[in-house]
Subunit: 366 residues, 2 copies
Amino acid sequence: MNEKFNFSAVQAPLPYEVTQELVKSISQGSPDAPSPLEFDYTTEKFGALIRHAEETLRTLLHIPVNYRVLFMAGGEDAQFSAVPLNLLSDHKCADYVVTGVFSKEAYLEGKKYGDMNIAASSAGASPAFSSVPEMSRSDFRPDADYVHICYNNPVYGTSYRTVPETGSIPLVADMSSCFLSAPVNVSDFGLIYAAAGQNYGISGVTTVIVRDDLVGNAADITPSVLNYETMSDKQSVFRAPDTFALTVADAVFTHILNEGGLEEMKRRNESKVSLIYDYLDSQVYYTATVDKKYRSSTHVVFVTGNSAMDERFLQAAEEAGLYGLRGHSAVGGIRASLYNSMPYEGAEALIEFMKKFAMQNPKLDF
Amino acid sequence: MNEKFNFSAVQAPLPYEVTQELVKSISQGSPDAPSPLEFDYTTEKFGALIRHAEETLRTLLHIPVNYRVLFMAGGEDAQFSAVPLNLLSDHKCADYVVTGVFSKEAYLEGKKYGDMNIAASSAGASPAFSSVPEMSRSDFRPDADYVHICYNNPVYGTSYRTVPETGSIPLVADMSSCFLSAPVNVSDFGLIYAAAGQNYGISGVTTVIVRDDLVGNAADITPSVLNYETMSDKQSVFRAPDTFALTVADAVFTHILNEGGLEEMKRRNESKVSLIYDYLDSQVYYTATVDKKYRSSTHVVFVTGNSAMDERFLQAAEEAGLYGLRGHSAVGGIRASLYNSMPYEGAEALIEFMKKFAMQNPKLDF
């Protein structure tokens, strides 16, 4: 095994072609044609870049005309505050579904601004958060201003497989860890947000896709940089926007389009994840921790059943050129994150290594 | 004149050596040693980078131990909200000094959160904002929670030359456009903030230097990403921080230290700005618009007295390799921004061009 692969959940590698292009344009910067590291956000050229990024994203996701696209600062944490600040009405109540670390933190931050309720949780699953709750419309308070979910849970390796039914209550989804990995029916949601760093771009920018009627009702206390209406009016250009992270995001959107769009991303991602799950389900050495019905298409979590053996696995994997496989500290074990930029060969190399490791490390020896 | 120079006020060129270093490390990224574009913010390596950036900044500015250093997202606009959200006490009142575009917007944003007062303004100067108000302690309300100023005004080319006396009222200064251009006595301020993009780094990160006693009193409604105490507890790492902008900031802090620190930056900047002002004060073709007592050490604004001639100047300057000299739309005319990365030769080239232009374009012809 000669090639190396990075399975990290936090920051995926950029597509090779995008990195090459960035290096070239950074190297070629000059006083009359500044590089993307020296982008003046007040120029028409930067306005054109933002519009291009938006248009490309609209094409990729078939975003309906009654949805706005905003590029904001501050990662997921900023949206944990922005959502209640912008979407709560006068009676200030919203429902949260807790399926892991991020959805819980969104709930805790939301509580600063209103009467927040945990409508459902998979904390009681065994192991904890190894599934996603089944819900019907009656699980939500009829007067909730929104229902908040985290669509894919990178820590536990779970995901919704169908969009929960919330009737007329706007559904808000944190899609940071699965954004652009497959097509999404945007109309199913009132609002989608996704911090960059996994399937698109580098951390520093967060994409918000929000239905028109949910814009313009922000609380008076909303900071301008978190106000969807203000950001929409300013076409996402406050002082000073993350010009380079936006440049990278635009480049990755374009790259995905050129590679065949989201149907093609879905096909590739499913083939990688199936390869690994098919193997996991066919043997007894490793155990997949997630209920089959709720498996993420991006994150595969498994254990050997012995934490010392897991450690040995992680060390041997690095020696074999497979990096970033350590499970989240809340879960332990092993986690393979298969973002868009992970080639099929990465999944193959992992399986090959898993087979070899299982053969060379019989559990009885341990 | 063969060399080209960029005098843009918005985003200064990065030091050449820093750009070269970044290109090298981006090019060398690999699955086992991800490049700065693929930085996992949960790693110890990133924690070490943040600590290094902080330590270097502490050395540069001799930051006292009772001040914290935070790296936050969202540019100046985010701080326009964060300052009142964190610093207002129960009676919620603060004073603002308005000396231009940014200080006015800080005041307007602040009004969302309390009883804000314009303690002084240079709007009535002729031309407007061509000076900075002279103030004494009695100009501020004794019960103000803070006084907010914008230390250097890039739009008008003015700057405070001495720190205003506010007694026991904490002085808050937006230093975005002059940060690290010269030494600062941090103890004169309760809080200093500076968005990156001019004298350090690329846009996306904002440095906040705040005295201990001003941390921990945030209003309950403060979003976590704008809460100084939360950011301090998290050592500036929320989900997800702007890893690349922080990498660049750290590289520029280090570069400044290696070049001789802030005394050396001050010496270089004064020599550039003096060269231009000495010329401006010695002739009658061009007029400097700013009162001598309040001239910025970074931004030099001047006019020919005829807006069509200003246009001709800007066009001819670009043809001669001098870019980004257009004055801000609120002022018009010509503006040379002389950030740390502008070499002395840039100021010399500008003077040479100004002399030639004045000779070739007698005003009587126009």
